[in-house]
Symmetry: C2
Subunit: 134 residues, 2 copies
DNA sequence: CAGTATCCGACATGATACTG
DNA sequence: CAGTATCATGTCGGATACTG
């Protein structure tokens, strides 16, 4: 169960873990995963669903997810072409801890906001006090 | 319990959630949090503990965590100065889902690696077939 | 429709040097 | 010791245009 202690925090495995975390951290992956959690979706459907995303970034995001084995890509050679994306089993299993993290974030949004506001106010004050012109 | 569905994926709250996820995703925050999970630590201790991190990035990481209210900073004005960092209660509560995610990542490292290798092999093949020189 | 290719600016990060 | 300041760089991401 222990993850960080026994692997000494610098083992190759730990590096890999960091990579996975990075994927989670990037702006779009989680959104896409959450969208695909309900059901498989087409490219354009995802594009509409995520809303801020550029075509390029959606492509790259899906590529990475597919590369990691989290999403499967199914091409239907028709005219116009149709490509469906779906969470793999591993993708679904990832969605759970991600969801847990999302739930935590959701619960603490207000508290974090408050902390930030307080911090910024203090920093602002300190900066205002600094009268060291050169 | 539902996070994404009822908030329509584009509410301001959801944006905030993304911010939190970004913090998790960045290379160092999680490492620092994990280190602080055991006990409070001094700046230089963290620097040694994380190992790849530059002084600058450790400072910035700690700053952000402090701003978010996840870490508390305690200065002991001595010579030489001493600064201790400690997870706040909220920081500790965040560590749990993060740990869960880390555990997932750890369990699936091999599978992800395999998926990547397979994907790269396929892409390599496809690229090798592409004989379209201009 | 579902991409790919290219250009470009913004930001993140590392290295280095200096300070209380 | 615990930072801060500055500079250089590399990656990320958006906009745009083109393709099968």
């Amino acid at each position: 169960m222990e993850v960080t202690a026994p692997v000494s925090r610098h083992s190759p495995a730990c590096m890999k873990v960091s990579q996975v975390l990075s994927r989670i951290g990037d702006k779009w992956s989680v959104l896409v995963i959450m969208l695909l959690r309900e059901r498989s979706r087409r490219f354009s459907e995802l594009k509409r669903g995520v809303e801020g995303i550029s075509q390029r970034m959606l492509t790259l995001t899906l590529r990475n997810l597919e590369r990691d084995g989290l999403v499967s890509r199914t091409v239907t050679p028709s005219i116009p072409p149709r490509v469906d994306y779906e969470l793999t089993e591993m993708g679904h299993s990832l969605a759970e801890p991600v969801q847990a993290l999302g739930a935590w974030a959701f619960r603490h949004v207000a508290q974090i906001d408050a902390a930030q506001a307080r911090y910024d106010a203090e920093v602002g004050n300190l900066e205002a006090c600094e009268q060291t012109p050169t």
